[in-house]
Protein backbone atom coordinates (compact mmCIF):
# COMPACT_ATOMS: atom_id res chain seq x y z
CA UNK A 1 0.00 0.00 0.00
CA UNK A 2 1.43 3.30 -1.04
CA UNK A 3 1.82 6.02 1.54
CA UNK A 4 -1.12 8.33 1.77
CA UNK A 5 -0.56 11.50 -0.18
CA UNK A 6 -2.47 14.70 -0.66
CA UNK A 7 -3.83 13.29 -3.89
CA UNK A 8 -5.54 10.58 -1.88
CA UNK A 9 -7.63 13.17 -0.14
CA UNK A 10 -11.12 12.29 -1.28
CA UNK A 11 -11.91 15.94 -2.06
CA UNK A 12 -9.10 15.91 -4.62
CA UNK A 13 -10.31 12.57 -5.93
CA UNK A 14 -13.78 14.04 -6.25
CA UNK A 15 -12.40 16.87 -8.35
CA UNK A 16 -10.19 14.66 -10.49
CA UNK A 17 -12.24 11.54 -10.95
CA UNK A 18 -15.49 10.21 -12.20
CA UNK A 19 -17.22 10.56 -8.87
CA UNK A 20 -17.72 14.28 -8.31
CA UNK A 21 -20.48 13.81 -5.74
CA UNK A 22 -18.25 11.74 -3.51
CA UNK A 23 -20.45 8.72 -3.25
CA UNK A 24 -18.39 6.01 -4.85
CA UNK A 25 -14.85 5.64 -6.09
CA UNK A 26 -13.69 8.95 -4.67
CA UNK A 27 -14.34 8.15 -1.04
CA UNK A 28 -13.10 4.60 -0.66
CA UNK A 29 -10.45 4.10 1.96
CA UNK A 30 -7.28 2.15 1.46
CA UNK A 31 -8.65 -0.55 3.72
CA UNK A 32 -11.77 -0.83 1.64
CA UNK A 33 -9.79 -1.08 -1.56
CA UNK A 34 -7.85 -3.99 -0.14
CA UNK A 35 -10.88 -5.86 1.21
CA UNK A 36 -10.61 -9.62 1.23
CA UNK A 37 -12.87 -12.24 2.80
CA UNK A 38 -11.77 -13.07 6.28
CA UNK A 39 -11.47 -16.66 5.17
CA UNK A 40 -8.86 -15.65 2.59
CA UNK A 41 -5.99 -16.24 4.97
CA UNK A 42 -7.34 -19.49 6.39
CA UNK A 43 -4.79 -22.26 6.77
CA UNK A 44 -7.17 -24.65 5.14
CA UNK A 45 -10.70 -25.76 4.45
CA UNK A 46 -11.94 -29.13 5.65
CA UNK A 47 -15.02 -30.93 4.46
CA UNK A 48 -17.35 -31.84 7.25
CA UNK A 49 -20.94 -32.68 8.09
CA UNK A 50 -23.27 -30.66 10.27
CA UNK A 51 -23.43 -32.08 13.82
CA UNK A 52 -27.03 -31.18 14.61
CA UNK A 53 -29.91 -33.09 13.03
CA UNK A 54 -29.84 -36.15 10.80
CA UNK A 55 -30.31 -34.42 7.46
CA UNK A 56 -26.55 -34.50 7.17
CA UNK A 57 -25.83 -31.18 5.49
CA UNK A 58 -22.38 -30.67 4.10
CA UNK A 59 -20.15 -28.14 5.84
CA UNK A 60 -16.88 -26.50 4.98
CA UNK A 61 -14.71 -25.73 7.96
CA UNK A 62 -12.18 -22.91 7.58
CA UNK A 63 -9.42 -22.97 10.11
CA UNK A 64 -6.43 -20.86 10.99
CA UNK A 65 -3.78 -21.33 13.64
CA UNK A 66 -5.51 -24.45 14.86
CA UNK A 67 -8.81 -22.72 15.41
CA UNK A 68 -12.02 -22.90 13.48
CA UNK A 69 -12.68 -19.45 12.04
CA UNK A 70 -15.70 -20.06 9.85
CA UNK A 71 -18.14 -22.82 9.02
CA UNK A 72 -20.41 -22.60 6.03
CA UNK A 73 -22.46 -24.88 3.84
CA UNK A 74 -20.78 -27.05 1.27
CA UNK A 75 -22.38 -26.37 -2.12
CA UNK A 76 -21.20 -29.73 -3.40
CA UNK A 77 -23.43 -31.69 -1.07
CA UNK A 78 -26.35 -33.22 -2.96
CA UNK A 79 -28.23 -33.30 0.34
CA UNK A 80 -28.02 -29.66 1.29
CA UNK A 81 -26.59 -27.87 -1.75
CA UNK A 82 -24.63 -25.52 0.46
CA UNK A 83 -27.45 -24.46 2.68
CA UNK A 84 -27.61 -24.59 6.43
CA UNK A 85 -30.31 -23.92 9.00
CA UNK A 86 -29.72 -21.52 11.90
CA UNK A 87 -28.13 -24.23 13.99
CA UNK A 88 -25.83 -25.35 11.23
CA UNK A 89 -25.02 -21.74 10.50
CA UNK A 90 -24.08 -21.28 14.16
CA UNK A 91 -21.67 -24.23 14.16
CA UNK A 92 -18.65 -21.99 14.40
CA UNK A 93 -20.02 -20.73 17.70
CA UNK A 94 -20.57 -24.31 18.78
CA UNK A 95 -16.82 -24.71 18.54
CA UNK A 96 -15.84 -21.31 19.86
CA UNK A 97 -18.56 -20.27 22.30
CA UNK A 98 -17.14 -18.63 25.38
CA UNK A 99 -18.92 -21.29 27.41
CA UNK A 100 -16.98 -24.13 25.82
CA UNK A 101 -15.35 -26.33 28.44
CA UNK A 102 -11.80 -27.41 27.81
CA UNK A 103 -10.71 -28.58 31.25
CA UNK A 104 -11.62 -31.67 33.21
CA UNK A 105 -13.87 -30.85 36.15
CA UNK A 106 -14.30 -33.04 39.17
CA UNK A 107 -16.78 -32.98 41.99
CA UNK A 108 -16.11 -35.06 45.08
CA UNK A 109 -19.01 -36.71 46.85
CA UNK A 110 -20.87 -34.17 48.98
CA UNK A 111 -18.79 -31.28 47.67
CA UNK A 112 -20.48 -28.02 46.82
CA UNK A 113 -18.07 -26.97 44.09
CA UNK A 114 -16.15 -28.29 41.14
CA UNK A 115 -12.43 -28.73 41.34
CA UNK A 116 -9.70 -29.26 38.78
CA UNK A 117 -8.34 -32.66 37.95
CA UNK A 118 -5.68 -33.92 35.60
CA UNK A 119 -7.12 -35.78 32.65
CA UNK A 120 -4.70 -38.63 33.27
CA UNK A 121 -5.85 -38.97 36.88
CA UNK A 122 -9.47 -38.73 35.89
CA UNK A 123 -9.14 -41.50 33.33
CA UNK A 124 -7.47 -43.73 35.85
CA UNK A 125 -10.11 -43.04 38.45
CA UNK A 126 -12.85 -43.81 35.97
CA UNK A 127 -11.17 -47.07 34.98
CA UNK A 128 -10.93 -48.09 38.64
CA UNK A 129 -14.56 -47.26 39.24
CA UNK A 130 -15.60 -49.09 36.11
CA UNK A 131 -13.88 -52.23 37.30
CA UNK A 132 -15.21 -51.95 40.82
CA UNK A 133 -18.80 -51.26 39.83
CA UNK A 134 -18.68 -54.04 37.29
CA UNK A 135 -17.60 -56.47 39.96
CA UNK A 136 -20.03 -55.24 42.55
CA UNK A 137 -23.08 -55.63 40.37
CA UNK A 138 -21.95 -58.66 38.43
CA UNK A 139 -24.58 -61.29 37.67
CA UNK A 140 -23.22 -64.65 36.61
CA UNK A 141 -26.56 -66.37 36.29
CA UNK A 142 -30.22 -65.88 36.98
CA UNK A 143 -32.29 -67.54 39.66
CA UNK A 144 -32.73 -70.58 37.43
CA UNK A 145 -29.02 -70.95 36.97
CA UNK A 146 -29.04 -69.74 33.40
CA UNK A 147 -25.98 -67.73 32.38
CA UNK A 148 -26.30 -63.94 32.40
CA UNK A 149 -22.65 -62.83 32.42
CA UNK A 150 -23.46 -59.22 32.87
CA UNK A 151 -23.18 -56.26 35.19
CA UNK A 152 -26.03 -53.97 36.04
CA UNK A 153 -23.81 -51.49 37.87
CA UNK A 154 -22.82 -49.43 34.85
CA UNK A 155 -25.04 -47.64 32.40
CA UNK A 156 -24.52 -45.25 29.55
CA UNK A 157 -26.63 -42.88 27.56
CA UNK A 158 -25.71 -41.17 24.34
CA UNK A 159 -24.45 -42.02 20.93
CA UNK A 160 -26.72 -40.29 18.49
CA UNK A 161 -24.58 -37.16 18.48
CA UNK A 162 -21.22 -38.86 18.22
CA UNK A 163 -19.64 -40.92 15.45
CA UNK A 164 -20.40 -44.39 14.17
CA UNK A 165 -16.88 -45.45 15.01
CA UNK A 166 -17.28 -44.18 18.55
CA UNK A 167 -20.57 -46.00 18.95
CA UNK A 168 -18.89 -49.11 17.69
CA UNK A 169 -16.12 -48.97 20.26
CA UNK A 170 -18.57 -48.20 23.07
CA UNK A 171 -20.84 -51.06 22.07
CA UNK A 172 -17.93 -53.39 21.68
CA UNK A 173 -16.31 -52.63 24.98
CA UNK A 174 -19.42 -52.28 27.08
CA UNK A 175 -20.86 -55.51 25.71
CA UNK A 176 -17.60 -57.33 26.38
CA UNK A 177 -17.66 -55.91 29.88
CA UNK A 178 -21.21 -57.15 30.30
CA UNK A 179 -22.58 -53.63 30.74
CA UNK A 180 -25.80 -54.08 28.83
CA UNK A 181 -27.53 -50.90 29.92
CA UNK A 182 -26.45 -48.66 27.11
CA UNK A 183 -28.89 -46.43 25.40
CA UNK A 184 -29.09 -43.40 23.17
CA UNK A 185 -31.52 -40.85 21.84
CA UNK A 186 -33.09 -43.40 19.52
CA UNK A 187 -34.99 -44.60 22.57
CA UNK A 188 -36.11 -41.13 23.56
Amino acid sequence: MARTTFLDWPVIRQLRGADPTGRGTAVTSAKTRSTTPRTADADGVTDSICPYCAVGCGQRVFHKDGKVIQIEGNPDSPVSRGRLCPKGAASEQLANSYLRQTKVRYRRPYATEWEDLELETAMDMIADRFIASRRKHWEDEDEHGRPLKRTMGIASLGGATIDNEENYLIKKFFTAAGAIQMENQARI
Binding site: W9, P10, V11, Q14, T21, G22, R23, V27
Partner: protein, 371 residues
Protein backbone atom coordinates in the same frame (compact mmCIF):
# COMPACT_ATOMS: atom_id res chain seq x y z
CA UNK B 1 -50.95 -9.19 35.77
CA UNK B 2 -51.35 -12.86 35.97
CA UNK B 3 -51.49 -13.96 39.55
CA UNK B 4 -51.48 -17.26 41.26
CA UNK B 5 -52.25 -17.85 44.87
CA UNK B 6 -48.56 -18.44 45.35
CA UNK B 7 -47.43 -15.13 44.05
CA UNK B 8 -47.19 -13.64 47.48
CA UNK B 9 -44.76 -16.31 48.57
CA UNK B 10 -42.18 -16.03 45.92
CA UNK B 11 -39.49 -13.47 45.46
CA UNK B 12 -40.30 -10.62 43.17
CA UNK B 13 -39.21 -11.20 39.65
CA UNK B 14 -35.98 -9.50 38.87
CA UNK B 15 -36.25 -7.49 35.72
CA UNK B 16 -33.66 -8.53 33.18
CA UNK B 17 -32.88 -5.12 31.88
CA UNK B 18 -29.18 -5.48 31.73
CA UNK B 19 -29.20 -3.97 28.32
CA UNK B 20 -28.35 -0.35 28.61
CA UNK B 21 -29.67 2.38 26.45
CA UNK B 22 -32.33 1.35 24.04
CA UNK B 23 -34.79 -1.01 25.56
CA UNK B 24 -37.29 -3.10 23.82
CA UNK B 25 -40.70 -3.07 25.25
CA UNK B 26 -42.84 -6.11 25.37
CA UNK B 27 -46.25 -5.73 23.91
CA UNK B 28 -49.21 -7.89 24.34
CA UNK B 29 -51.80 -8.94 21.85
CA UNK B 30 -54.16 -6.13 22.62
CA UNK B 31 -51.43 -3.69 21.87
CA UNK B 32 -50.30 -5.40 18.75
CA UNK B 33 -51.21 -3.37 15.77
CA UNK B 34 -52.38 -0.46 17.85
CA UNK B 35 -49.52 1.45 16.47
CA UNK B 36 -48.67 3.10 19.72
CA UNK B 37 -45.03 2.97 18.97
CA UNK B 38 -44.00 4.95 21.95
CA UNK B 39 -41.72 3.24 24.36
CA UNK B 40 -42.54 5.56 27.19
CA UNK B 41 -46.21 5.29 26.64
CA UNK B 42 -47.15 8.51 24.96
CA UNK B 43 -50.66 8.19 23.76
CA UNK B 44 -52.15 9.56 20.64
CA UNK B 45 -55.59 10.54 21.69
CA UNK B 46 -57.01 13.25 19.56
CA UNK B 47 -56.47 11.67 16.20
CA UNK B 48 -59.37 9.68 14.91
CA UNK B 49 -58.78 6.56 12.93
CA UNK B 50 -61.15 4.69 10.81
CA UNK B 51 -60.20 1.31 12.14
CA UNK B 52 -58.54 1.93 15.40
CA UNK B 53 -57.10 -1.24 16.80
CA UNK B 54 -56.47 -2.79 13.43
CA UNK B 55 -53.95 -0.39 12.19
CA UNK B 56 -51.42 -2.12 10.00
CA UNK B 57 -47.93 -2.05 11.27
CA UNK B 58 -45.44 -4.59 12.42
CA UNK B 59 -46.35 -4.98 16.08
CA UNK B 60 -46.36 -1.21 16.39
CA UNK B 61 -42.61 -1.08 15.89
CA UNK B 62 -41.09 1.98 14.27
CA UNK B 63 -40.62 1.95 10.52
CA UNK B 64 -37.80 4.47 10.52
CA UNK B 65 -35.15 5.11 13.09
CA UNK B 66 -34.31 8.26 14.94
CA UNK B 67 -30.73 9.44 14.65
CA UNK B 68 -28.68 8.81 17.76
CA UNK B 69 -28.71 12.51 18.51
CA UNK B 70 -28.93 13.67 22.07
CA UNK B 71 -28.95 17.01 23.87
CA UNK B 72 -25.61 18.23 22.49
CA UNK B 73 -27.21 18.42 19.07
CA UNK B 74 -29.93 20.74 20.35
CA UNK B 75 -27.26 22.79 22.05
CA UNK B 76 -25.33 22.90 18.81
CA UNK B 77 -28.42 24.00 16.88
CA UNK B 78 -28.97 26.74 19.42
CA UNK B 79 -25.38 27.90 19.58
CA UNK B 80 -25.00 27.74 15.83
CA UNK B 81 -27.98 30.05 15.59
CA UNK B 82 -26.56 32.41 18.19
CA UNK B 83 -23.23 32.38 16.39
CA UNK B 84 -24.79 33.04 13.00
CA UNK B 85 -26.99 35.84 14.26
CA UNK B 86 -24.16 37.38 16.24
CA UNK B 87 -21.94 37.24 13.21
CA UNK B 88 -24.45 39.29 11.28
CA UNK B 89 -24.80 41.77 14.13
CA UNK B 90 -21.05 42.09 14.31
CA UNK B 91 -20.79 42.88 10.64
CA UNK B 92 -23.62 45.39 10.91
CA UNK B 93 -22.05 46.94 13.98
CA UNK B 94 -18.74 47.21 12.21
CA UNK B 95 -20.36 48.91 9.26
CA UNK B 96 -22.42 51.26 11.38
CA UNK B 97 -19.79 52.05 13.95
CA UNK B 98 -21.07 50.33 17.04
CA UNK B 99 -17.79 49.15 18.54
CA UNK B 100 -19.15 47.49 21.65
CA UNK B 101 -21.87 45.67 19.80
CA UNK B 102 -19.26 44.64 17.24
CA UNK B 103 -16.84 43.43 19.85
CA UNK B 104 -19.42 41.58 21.90
CA UNK B 105 -21.06 40.04 18.87
CA UNK B 106 -17.76 38.88 17.46
CA UNK B 107 -16.80 37.31 20.75
CA UNK B 108 -20.24 35.79 21.10
CA UNK B 109 -20.01 34.37 17.61
CA UNK B 110 -16.64 32.88 18.32
CA UNK B 111 -17.67 31.52 21.69
CA UNK B 112 -20.92 30.06 20.39
CA UNK B 113 -19.40 28.48 17.33
CA UNK B 114 -16.59 27.04 19.42
CA UNK B 115 -18.88 25.61 22.07
CA UNK B 116 -21.26 24.40 19.39
CA UNK B 117 -18.51 22.54 17.64
CA UNK B 118 -17.52 20.89 20.89
CA UNK B 119 -21.13 19.82 21.36
CA UNK B 120 -21.22 18.45 17.86
CA UNK B 121 -18.08 16.44 18.36
CA UNK B 122 -19.31 15.23 21.72
CA UNK B 123 -22.31 13.65 20.05
CA UNK B 124 -20.26 11.63 17.56
CA UNK B 125 -19.97 7.91 18.00
CA UNK B 126 -16.25 8.18 17.35
CA UNK B 127 -15.31 11.75 18.35
CA UNK B 128 -11.63 11.12 17.60
CA UNK B 129 -12.58 10.84 13.95
CA UNK B 130 -14.16 14.29 13.80
CA UNK B 131 -11.72 15.37 11.14
CA UNK B 132 -13.12 12.77 8.78
CA UNK B 133 -15.87 15.33 8.26
CA UNK B 134 -13.31 17.13 6.09
CA UNK B 135 -12.62 14.12 3.90
CA UNK B 136 -15.18 15.10 1.35
CA UNK B 137 -17.37 17.82 0.05
CA UNK B 138 -20.77 16.35 -0.52
CA UNK B 139 -23.53 18.51 -1.82
CA UNK B 140 -26.01 15.76 -1.13
CA UNK B 141 -25.18 15.91 2.53
CA UNK B 142 -26.38 18.93 4.48
CA UNK B 143 -24.10 17.73 7.23
CA UNK B 144 -21.11 17.91 4.91
CA UNK B 145 -22.13 21.27 3.51
CA UNK B 146 -22.79 22.45 7.04
CA UNK B 147 -19.43 21.23 8.21
CA UNK B 148 -17.70 23.39 5.62
CA UNK B 149 -19.92 26.36 6.50
CA UNK B 150 -19.21 25.79 10.15
CA UNK B 151 -15.48 25.51 9.67
CA UNK B 152 -15.38 28.52 7.43
CA UNK B 153 -17.42 30.55 9.84
CA UNK B 154 -15.35 29.35 12.75
CA UNK B 155 -12.15 30.35 10.98
CA UNK B 156 -13.38 33.85 10.25
CA UNK B 157 -14.79 34.14 13.73
CA UNK B 158 -11.47 33.04 15.10
CA UNK B 159 -9.63 35.74 13.22
CA UNK B 160 -12.10 38.40 14.23
CA UNK B 161 -12.22 37.18 17.79
CA UNK B 162 -8.46 37.26 18.01
CA UNK B 163 -8.47 40.81 16.73
CA UNK B 164 -11.03 41.83 19.33
CA UNK B 165 -9.19 40.12 22.17
CA UNK B 166 -5.98 41.73 21.05
CA UNK B 167 -7.69 45.09 21.04
CA UNK B 168 -9.23 44.51 24.45
CA UNK B 169 -5.88 43.65 25.91
CA UNK B 170 -4.32 46.71 24.36
CA UNK B 171 -2.46 44.74 21.73
CA UNK B 172 -0.57 42.87 24.33
CA UNK B 173 -1.07 39.44 22.80
CA UNK B 174 2.26 38.00 21.70
CA UNK B 175 1.31 38.08 18.08
CA UNK B 176 4.36 39.70 16.62
CA UNK B 177 4.25 39.91 12.86
CA UNK B 178 0.95 38.14 12.83
CA UNK B 179 -0.74 41.27 14.09
CA UNK B 180 -0.31 42.95 10.77
CA UNK B 181 -1.60 39.94 8.98
CA UNK B 182 -4.59 39.80 11.30
CA UNK B 183 -5.35 43.42 10.70
CA UNK B 184 -5.29 42.82 7.02
CA UNK B 185 -7.61 39.87 7.43
CA UNK B 186 -10.26 41.79 9.33
CA UNK B 187 -12.16 42.97 6.30
CA UNK B 188 -12.13 39.75 4.32
CA UNK B 189 -12.99 37.84 7.46
CA UNK B 190 -15.82 40.16 8.17
CA UNK B 191 -17.16 39.69 4.68
CA UNK B 192 -16.77 35.95 4.96
CA UNK B 193 -18.52 35.95 8.29
CA UNK B 194 -21.34 38.01 6.83
CA UNK B 195 -21.82 35.50 4.04
CA UNK B 196 -21.58 32.35 6.14
CA UNK B 197 -23.43 33.59 9.23
CA UNK B 198 -26.95 33.30 7.86
CA UNK B 199 -26.12 30.01 6.20
CA UNK B 200 -24.87 28.69 9.50
CA UNK B 201 -28.19 29.64 10.99
CA UNK B 202 -30.30 28.23 8.22
CA UNK B 203 -28.51 25.10 6.96
CA UNK B 204 -29.58 23.24 10.10
CA UNK B 205 -33.09 23.41 8.72
CA UNK B 206 -31.88 21.27 5.85
CA UNK B 207 -29.94 19.08 8.22
CA UNK B 208 -33.08 18.11 10.05
CA UNK B 209 -35.40 18.47 7.10
CA UNK B 210 -33.40 16.25 4.81
CA UNK B 211 -34.32 13.19 6.81
CA UNK B 212 -37.18 10.74 6.96
CA UNK B 213 -37.94 11.54 10.58
CA UNK B 214 -41.64 12.24 10.12
CA UNK B 215 -41.93 15.58 11.90
CA UNK B 216 -38.71 16.94 10.46
CA UNK B 217 -39.43 15.62 7.01
CA UNK B 218 -42.81 17.29 7.08
CA UNK B 219 -41.15 20.48 8.27
CA UNK B 220 -38.65 20.54 5.42
CA UNK B 221 -40.26 23.58 3.88
CA UNK B 222 -40.24 25.61 7.08
CA UNK B 223 -37.41 24.56 9.31
CA UNK B 224 -34.89 26.94 7.76
CA UNK B 225 -37.23 29.83 8.29
CA UNK B 226 -37.90 28.77 11.82
CA UNK B 227 -34.23 28.34 12.55
CA UNK B 228 -33.10 31.66 11.04
CA UNK B 229 -35.88 33.37 12.96
CA UNK B 230 -34.86 31.62 16.12
CA UNK B 231 -31.24 32.50 15.45
CA UNK B 232 -32.19 36.12 14.91
CA UNK B 233 -34.09 36.43 18.13
CA UNK B 234 -31.42 34.58 20.03
CA UNK B 235 -28.58 36.66 18.67
CA UNK B 236 -30.64 39.83 19.23
CA UNK B 237 -31.32 38.69 22.75
CA UNK B 238 -27.66 37.92 23.35
CA UNK B 239 -26.68 41.35 22.14
CA UNK B 240 -29.30 43.00 24.30
CA UNK B 241 -27.99 41.09 27.23
CA UNK B 242 -24.34 41.95 26.62
CA UNK B 243 -24.29 45.32 24.89
CA UNK B 244 -25.36 48.75 26.07
CA UNK B 245 -28.83 49.75 25.01
CA UNK B 246 -27.49 52.62 23.04
CA UNK B 247 -25.76 50.36 20.62
CA UNK B 248 -28.32 47.56 20.74
CA UNK B 249 -31.04 49.16 18.69
CA UNK B 250 -30.49 46.95 15.62
CA UNK B 251 -30.30 43.94 17.89
CA UNK B 252 -33.70 44.81 19.31
CA UNK B 253 -35.15 45.14 15.85
CA UNK B 254 -33.56 41.91 14.72
CA UNK B 255 -34.88 40.17 17.81
CA UNK B 256 -38.36 41.50 17.30
CA UNK B 257 -38.39 40.43 13.69
CA UNK B 258 -37.06 37.06 14.81
CA UNK B 259 -39.90 36.65 17.29
CA UNK B 260 -42.45 37.37 14.60
CA UNK B 261 -40.75 35.03 12.16
CA UNK B 262 -40.38 32.34 14.79
CA UNK B 263 -44.02 32.35 15.86
CA UNK B 264 -45.35 32.63 12.32
CA UNK B 265 -43.10 29.98 10.77
CA UNK B 266 -43.79 27.55 13.58
CA UNK B 267 -47.50 27.91 13.05
CA UNK B 268 -47.24 27.66 9.30
CA UNK B 269 -45.07 24.61 9.67
CA UNK B 270 -47.52 22.84 11.90
CA UNK B 271 -50.37 23.68 9.64
CA UNK B 272 -48.65 22.25 6.63
CA UNK B 273 -48.19 18.93 8.34
CA UNK B 274 -50.30 15.82 8.54
CA UNK B 275 -51.87 15.86 12.00
CA UNK B 276 -49.82 12.85 13.01
CA UNK B 277 -46.62 14.62 12.04
CA UNK B 278 -47.51 17.84 13.81
CA UNK B 279 -48.60 16.10 16.93
CA UNK B 280 -45.17 15.55 18.49
CA UNK B 281 -44.67 19.32 18.30
CA UNK B 282 -47.79 19.82 20.33
CA UNK B 283 -47.79 17.08 22.89
CA UNK B 284 -45.50 15.54 25.37
CA UNK B 285 -42.20 16.95 26.43
CA UNK B 286 -41.48 18.56 23.09
CA UNK B 287 -44.89 20.20 23.03
CA UNK B 288 -44.28 21.60 26.48
CA UNK B 289 -40.87 22.98 25.53
CA UNK B 290 -42.22 24.56 22.39
CA UNK B 291 -45.15 26.05 24.24
CA UNK B 292 -42.75 27.71 26.68
CA UNK B 293 -40.51 28.66 23.86
CA UNK B 294 -43.34 30.55 22.22
CA UNK B 295 -44.36 32.17 25.47
CA UNK B 296 -40.83 33.29 26.23
CA UNK B 297 -40.33 34.51 22.68
CA UNK B 298 -43.47 36.59 22.77
CA UNK B 299 -42.69 37.88 26.24
CA UNK B 300 -39.16 38.70 25.19
CA UNK B 301 -40.42 40.36 22.06
CA UNK B 302 -42.89 42.50 23.96
CA UNK B 303 -40.21 43.36 26.50
CA UNK B 304 -37.87 44.34 23.71
CA UNK B 305 -40.44 46.52 22.03
CA UNK B 306 -41.71 48.19 25.16
CA UNK B 307 -38.70 48.32 27.46
CA UNK B 308 -35.74 47.64 25.24
CA UNK B 309 -34.15 50.91 26.12
CA UNK B 310 -34.10 50.03 29.75
CA UNK B 311 -30.91 48.15 30.50
CA UNK B 312 -32.55 45.76 32.91
CA UNK B 313 -35.63 45.08 30.85
CA UNK B 314 -33.39 44.66 27.83
CA UNK B 315 -31.25 42.18 29.65
CA UNK B 316 -34.27 40.26 30.93
CA UNK B 317 -35.85 40.25 27.50
CA UNK B 318 -32.59 39.13 25.93
CA UNK B 319 -32.32 36.28 28.36
CA UNK B 320 -35.92 35.29 27.67
CA UNK B 321 -35.24 35.27 23.96
CA UNK B 322 -32.13 33.18 24.35
CA UNK B 323 -34.08 30.74 26.44
CA UNK B 324 -36.88 30.71 23.88
CA UNK B 325 -34.44 29.87 21.11
CA UNK B 326 -32.83 27.12 23.12
CA UNK B 327 -36.22 25.67 23.94
CA UNK B 328 -37.20 25.76 20.28
CA UNK B 329 -34.16 23.71 19.36
CA UNK B 330 -34.70 21.21 22.14
CA UNK B 331 -38.37 21.04 21.30
CA UNK B 332 -37.82 20.41 17.62
CA UNK B 333 -35.16 17.82 18.35
CA UNK B 334 -37.32 15.97 20.83
CA UNK B 335 -40.38 16.18 18.62
CA UNK B 336 -38.46 14.55 15.81
CA UNK B 337 -37.06 11.81 18.00
CA UNK B 338 -40.53 11.22 19.38
CA UNK B 339 -42.14 11.16 15.97
CA UNK B 340 -40.38 8.00 14.80
CA UNK B 341 -41.70 5.95 17.67
CA UNK B 342 -45.16 5.62 16.27
CA UNK B 343 -45.17 3.92 12.89
CA UNK B 344 -48.47 5.56 12.07
CA UNK B 345 -46.64 8.86 11.66
CA UNK B 346 -44.67 7.26 8.87
CA UNK B 347 -47.27 5.06 7.30
CA UNK B 348 -50.36 7.24 7.28
CA UNK B 349 -48.83 10.30 5.65
CA UNK B 350 -47.15 8.05 3.12
CA UNK B 351 -50.39 6.30 2.33
CA UNK B 352 -52.06 9.67 2.00
CA UNK B 353 -49.47 11.08 -0.37
CA UNK B 354 -49.52 7.92 -2.44
CA UNK B 355 -53.27 8.14 -2.70
CA UNK B 356 -53.05 11.80 -3.59
CA UNK B 357 -50.61 11.13 -6.39
CA UNK B 358 -52.81 8.40 -7.70
CA UNK B 359 -55.82 10.67 -7.57
CA UNK B 360 -53.80 13.10 -9.62
CA UNK B 361 -53.26 10.42 -12.23
CA UNK B 362 -49.70 9.49 -11.30
CA UNK B 363 -49.83 5.73 -11.10
CA UNK B 364 -46.37 4.58 -12.04
CA UNK B 365 -44.25 5.52 -9.06
CA UNK B 366 -45.34 3.13 -6.34
CA UNK B 367 -42.75 0.95 -4.69
CA UNK B 368 -45.35 -1.80 -4.56
CA UNK B 369 -46.16 -3.27 -7.93
CA UNK B 370 -47.95 -6.26 -9.31
CA UNK B 371 -45.06 -7.27 -11.45
Amino acid sequence: MSITEFDADRPPELPRTRRRGRRRRRRDLTEVGMGDGSREGAVVEDVEFERAGEFDSYYGRPVVKAPPWKEPIAIYLFLGGVAGGSGLLAVGAQCTGRPLLRRNSRLLALGAVGAGTVALIEDLGRPERFLNMMRTVKVTSPMSVGTWILSGFATFSGVLGAIEVDRMTGERLPLGALRRLLGGLELPSSVGQAVLAPLLASYTGALLGNTVVPTWEAGRGHLSYLFTSSASLAAGGAAMLTSPVAEAGPARLLATAGVVGDVVSMHLMKESMHPLEAEPLQTGQAGMLLKWSERLAIAGGIGTLLGGRNRYIAAASGAALLAASALTRFGVLYAGLESVKDPRRVIEPQQARLAARRAAGITDDSITTAG
